[in-house]
């Protein structure tokens, strides 16, 4: 890909090492990557290849041991913890493998949560719209334990989209779902990507889901082994 616009996310020679007692594990070993606005891409690879670590770095949840990360041209190292948290809250939506919904809140309240944290005055309205977009308008008052796995993940997607993010990161979003729900969730993400131009990056083990993406990055031993554009 030879983009004309500057990338949404730029990673340069990113290393991430973890110290486990006397052992040092290098989860990412020099990742250089540009992600552009509007992309719908998957990161795949075997267990332990560094997918989750890469997602954490992309989501500014973790900092590289060495190397640089820029989000919309802003270096992540220049931001303090509060600024980084605010930055994340405004620009990045997260979809987790285990949905990570707050169990005591309804679907609507879960979607409202990041909006309220960000001080959005019309949080309820926007959360309602987001839920309608993922087809859950009838379940606004339902708590997570009253929803199926697929519905929970759709609530999580609505929560991620409610803030109108520039980027949505989904770490193994289909790992806890059956194949039908998995396909439904990926289709939904794809739809949202096309409808709103939101960049989606997700990790998966399931090769069948890779057919739906624009770009596939194969990660192995902390390195990008293949960066394939086009489905």
């Amino acid at each position: 890909m030879t983009p004309t616009a500057p990338p949404l996310l730029r990673l340069r020679d990113v290393h991430r090492r973890f110290h486990l007692g006397t052992t040092t594990v290098e989860a990412l070993a020099g990742v250089t990557l540009d992600i552009h606005a509007g992309e719908f891409m998957a990161v795949w690879g075997p267990s332990g290849s560094g997918k989750s670590t890469l997602m954490n770095i992309l989501g500014l949840l973790d900092a590289p041991s060495t190397g640089e990360v820029w989000f919309e041209g802003e270096g992540s190292r220049s931001l303090g913890d509060d600024a980084l948290t605010d930055f994340r809250g405004r620009r990045i939506g997260f979809v987790f493998q285990s949905f990570n919904l707050v169990p005591v809140l309804s679907a609507l309240e879960n979607v409202m949560l990041p909006l309220q944290i960000g001080g959005e005055p019309d949080a309820r309205e926007r959360a309602g719209q987001a839920l309608a977009e993922v087809g859950l308008e009838r379940f606004v008052g339902s708590r997570p334990d009253q929803l199926s796995g697929g519905q929970r993940q759709r609530v999580a997607i609505a929560r991620a989209l409610g803030i109108r993010p520039r980027l949505v990161l989904a770490d193994e979003p289909t790992a806890n779902l059956d194949s039908e729900n998995s396909r439904m969730v990926v289709d939904l993400m794809r739809e949202m990507n096309r409808a709103h131009g939101v960049t989606f990056v997700f990790t998966t083990h399931d090769p069948r889901l890779l057919d739906h993406v624009d770009r596939k990055i194969l990660l192995r031993d902390g390195r990008i082994e293949q960066d394939e554009v086009g489905s």
Partner: protein, 420 residues
């Protein structure tokens, strides 16, 4: 949905744990509130007893140095007739003053004709004694907690030779109301003087050490025995509001100083050593109980919140990921703890009210140490102490959550998200 609602719902996640913590807080709060209410009632009773029962009034004025040197040189420290008249007029003009009356203390020997013993008599104008004592009668009527046994009502302006003795003193001499006794004392100039008196009534001081010693006598009788016509060793001042005691004292000192009088004015609680000692002792016990309860609250809340934080580690990671700052996480859990503590305090307050009315209905009475008669066990609702306790407990509860909440907020987000 707001963060208060989120905190409240957080408490409902583990209801049994929240309930146990809430009960610990409620019981602790009730213990403090009941003890505060009990001591409040004791203080009120003791102040009433000192001001109205012992006829101390709110303020006692005497010549400067009277309290230290008066016994050694009574002539020098007695107020003259002119002093009494002028100072009384000055004091009466001060707001909140409802009564100013001269007093004279006398000691001597009382005899039934066959046996004798020492006495200490308070010379007081009978009408003024009734006014001073009216506070006790008002309280007895209001609370219906007993009958007046002070004997002060037996002092009668129409019967200037009638005295009131403590029961112990009367018992020593086998004197009964209506009986005759002889008083022997020194006059101001050191001459022996004696008078026959009639026993009008008996009373208990409530204190075993003084119950066979004291007597109330008409002021004119004491003056006559002391040969101190028109004189007084002090003036007793009654106010309409006990809370004005200090303010009126300051005002009076200033006013009398500018009028050229060197006087000392002592408050009722300075004169009532018993009140001061009891107050000091109960304050110490209260502080001790308060400390223990606060420790229990801190430990309960810290334990509960510690477990909550561990259980909700992944949720904390999620909240941090979606934009909640570290301070927000701390606020969330501190708010949860403060809410839990406040609900505990409200429950404790309800418990306090229930126990208070249970005690009132039960009509329990007991004999306090060094007392001669039973007193009813009563508990007040001490609102200022209750509010202070609730605020302190909420603050302490929130602080107890601060450490686990801070620990949770500071852990790396990826560790929190990966918590199992």
């Amino acid at each position: 949905m707001n963060f208060l609602s989120l905190s409240f719902r957080g408490l409902l996640r583990n209801r049994r744990r929240s309930l146990v913590t809430l009960l610990a807080i409620a019981l602790g709060f009730a213990a403090i509130a009941l003890f505060a209410g009990y001591t409040h009632n004791i203080y009120r009773g003791l102040s009433l007893q000192a001001i109205h029962g012992e006829l101390l009034g709110h303020l006692t004025l005497s010549k400067q140095g009277m309290s230290r040197e008066g016994k050694l040189d009574p002539e020098r420290y007695l107020l003259s007739r002119e002093d009494v008249t002028r100072i009384t007029a000055l004091i009466r003009a001060v707001p909140h003053v409802v009564l100013v009356t001269p007093r004279l203390t006398l000691s001597g020997i009382v005899s039934n004709g066959r046996a004798s013993t020492i006495f200490v008599a308070e010379g007081v104008e009978p009408k003024a004694a009734h006014e001073l004592h009216a506070g006790v009668l008002r309280e007895l009527r209001l609370t219906q907690t007993g009958k007046d046994e002070s004997g002060v009502q037996s002092l009668d302006p129409a019967r200037p030779d009638t005295v009131v003795l403590t029961r112990g003193l009367a018992d020593l001499l086998h004197l009964k109301p209506g009986g005759q006794a002889a008083l022997l004392s020194n006059t101001l100039s050191g001459q022996a003087n004696a008078l026959d008196v009639t026993v009008g009534g008996l009373f208990n001081t409530g204190n075993a050490a003084t119950n066979d010693l004291y007597a109330f006598m008409p002021l004119e009788l004491v003056r006559s025995l002391y040969d101190a016509e028109g004189r007084a060793d002090r003036l007793t001042i009654l106010l309409d509001d006990v809370d004005q005691t200090e303010a009126v004292r300051s005002h009076l000192l200033e006013r009398l100083k500018s009028a050229g009088y060197a006087v000392e004015i002592r408050t009722w609680n300075e004169l009532s050593a018993f009140y001061t000692q009891v107050h000091g002792m109960f304050d110490m016990i209260f502080g001790f109980i308060f400390g223990i309860v606060l420790t229990v609250v801190i430990m309960s809340v810290a334990n509960s919140m510690g477990m909550t934080v561990v259980e909700r580690t992944r949720e904390i990671g999620t909240l941090r990921a979606i934009g909640l700052r570290r301070a927000g996480v701390v606020r969330l859990f501190m708010g949860e703890a403060a809410l839990l503590t406040l609900i505990g305090c409200v429950t404790g307050l309800l418990l306090t009210v229930a126990v208070k009315y249970g005690i009132d209905v039960a009509g329990i009475s007991y004999v306090p140490p060094n007392q001669t008669s039973p007193v009813p066990l009563l508990v007040d609702l001490d609102i200022p102490h209750i509010l202070l306790t609730a605020m302190m407990m909420a603050a302490v509860g929130a602080l107890a959550a601060w450490l686990p909440a801070r620990r949770a907020a500071r852990q790396p987000i990826i560790d929190a998200l990966g918590h199992v």
